[in-house]
């Protein structure tokens, strides 16, 4: 069953130098329980697509349904059924972990008792129990990221959008976070829509990869299928595959700037 379905999804920005088509028509289907890696060079349109699917940005063309709700006609429904973990996180450093988790549940219309119970449950599952009374400012990078993800799961969403979840984390914390993403899918059947600059991460986590470039999908398949098709061998690296598909790297350092 598809939980995300888009047809010709597009976004054009009006700028002083004229219209810029950031996303030029994305046709995409994501199945329930799937971990989808959404990749692209800088300026490819992946962040714009993510922002549209999370209702932060209105599309200027096409249609989409997310978790059974129409993106344009029922954005509140989409918000109720999805979780979003932004790259910048989203917790207030001056507030305790418990208060942030409970308030997050309440913002998703859980009763106070439900939100408190859910905060305890998430803290247990995501190894945050010892940190519940601590101020968010006092958490390490890895702990903060676990809290960000717990916040995204407060209302048991059908789909969890993760935007660059491991940026800035040390290798150990990254590995822990990968385990956590796998756990989320295994434990709750949550569909995970993941954007990342780390190709090893996308390779290790994703059931399927969608690669966008210049606002369009240029490749779609399992990591092995893409490697075989574009790099000639299932044992090729995703880096080689990505270069073969887009002609450039994925990281900000080696990406060719594209106006978006």
């Amino acid at each position: 069953m598809a939980v995300i379905s888009t047809s010709g999804l597009a976004r054009t920005f009006q700028t002083r130098s004229g219209p810029v088509q950031a996303v030029r028509g994305i046709d995409l289907t994501v199945q329930a329980g799937e971990i989808l890696g959404f990749l692209g060079p800088n300026g490819a349109g992946k962040t714009t697509t993510l922002r549209m699917l999370t209702t932060l940005l209105a599309p200027t063309g096409g249609a989409a349904t997310v978790a059974g709700c129409d993106l344009v006609r029922d954005p509140a429904g989409v918000r109720q059924k999805t979780g979003y973990v932004a790259q910048s996180g989203g917790v207030d450093p001056s507030i305790s972990v418990r208060e942030e988790l409970v308030t997050q549940g309440r913002l998703y219309r859980l009763s106070k008792a439900e939100a408190e119970a859910r905060a305890e449950e998430l803290a247990r599952e995501l190894d945050l129990t010892e940190l519940l009374e601590r101020k968010c400012a006092a958490l390490s990078g890895g702990q903060r990221r676990r809290l960000d993800i717990a916040m995204g799961l407060a209302h048991r969403p059908a789909v969890l959008f993760l935007d660059e979840p491991t940026t800035g984390l040390d290798p150990g914390s990254r590995s822990d976070l990968w385990d956590l993403v796998r756990l989320i899918r295994a434990q709750w059947g949550t569909t995970v829509f993941l954007t990342t600059h780390y190709l090893d991460e996308a390779d290790a986590l994703s059931d399927r990869l969608v690669i966008v470039d210049q606002g369009r999908i240029v490749a779609d398949g399992t990591p092995i299928a893409l490697k075989r098709r574009y790099a000639g061998s299932p044992d090729a690296t995703l880096q080689d595959t990505f270069l073969a598909i887009t002609g450039r790297g994925v990281t900000p350092q080696d990406a060719t700037p594209v106006a978006v």
Binding site: L56, A86, S88, G89, G90, D92, I95, T103, L107
Partner: protein, 251 residues
């Protein structure tokens, strides 16, 4: 409607708890008007500033609204910091309406400024202010209206500004002429004709005049009527504009 009120209360509670944790912020906001009372108020004692009432009944209403003007107009700073932490974006992907997200915040601000206004009144009473209780309560209502209006506009402006460095000068550029033209310190009726006429273009003048009227017990005159009408119009325009900009702006 029930959901909207519950959401607004939830957002209000979150920010109210945040404020209560910062006792310095609560007290510091009242410091400037209190300093005016202590160090500037005595200079005006006995001066014929208005046709009715003492100099305190002229100065204190101006200081109350100064709380709103200088406090609420700068509320947007907080949202710029929240944007940097991703808090605004996180809240904007919840099912809570944009209006509730905005109102919860501005009602917290209004509550804070009314509390600070109470502190200012207590000091002013000790300094020699004598005014009817109902007039003082009306003054608080005007402070709340001004706080809600200016905080709404401040938040929506801050949603479109990326750094505190660009936000501060922008607000100051509006606030300074607003303070001078609204007659917060001295009634504009004392001004030369051209300045008095110019000040009628500044909506806050009507609010200050109305609070001054309330402080001398004049509740039924045209000054109060204009004050109430301007406050209502200001509220409607600023909350509507604020919500619209808040909805459109990208976090």
């Amino acid at each position: 409607m029930t959901t909207f009120l519950a959401d607004t209360a939830l957002v209000f509670g979150r920010y109210a708890r945040q404020t209560l944790r910062s006792k310095i912020q609560i007290l510091f906001g009242a410091l400037m008007p209190v300093l005016y009372l202590l160090l500037y108020g005595p200079l005006l004692t006995g001066m014929p500033l208005a046709s009715r009432g003492s100099s305190w009944q002229v100065l204190v209403p101006g200081l109350l609204l100064q709380l709103g003007l200088f406090g609420a107009a700068f509320c947007g700073f907080a949202i710029i910091i929240e944007k940097q932490h991703g808090v605004v974006e996180r809240m904007r992907v919840t099912p809570v309406s944009r209006l509730a997200l905005l109102l919860g915040r501005v009602l917290r601000d209004a509550a804070l400024f009314v509390f600070q206004a109470v502190l200012v009144i207590l000091v002013a009473l000790a300094m020699g202010l004598r005014a009817p209780l109902f007039g003082i309560v009306l003054g608080f209502a005007f402070v709340a209206a001004m706080a809600v209006s200016l905080a709404s506009l401040s938040y929506s402006l801050a949603m479109r500004v990326s750094t505190p460095q660009s936000f501060g000068p922008l607000v100051n550029a509006v606030n300074m002429p607003a303070m001078l033209l609204s007659g917060l310190m001295l009634p504009m009726s004392l001004a030369p004709g051209w300045l008095n006429v110019l000040s009628h273009l500044m909506p806050f003048r009507y609010l200050v005049d109305a609070v001054r009227a309330a402080f001398v017990g004049d509740y039924g005159g045209s000054t109060m009527l204009y004050g109430v009408l301007v406050a209502a119009a200001l509220l409607a325009v600023s909350v509507t504009t604020g919500t619209r900009l808040f909805r459109k702006a990208e976090a």
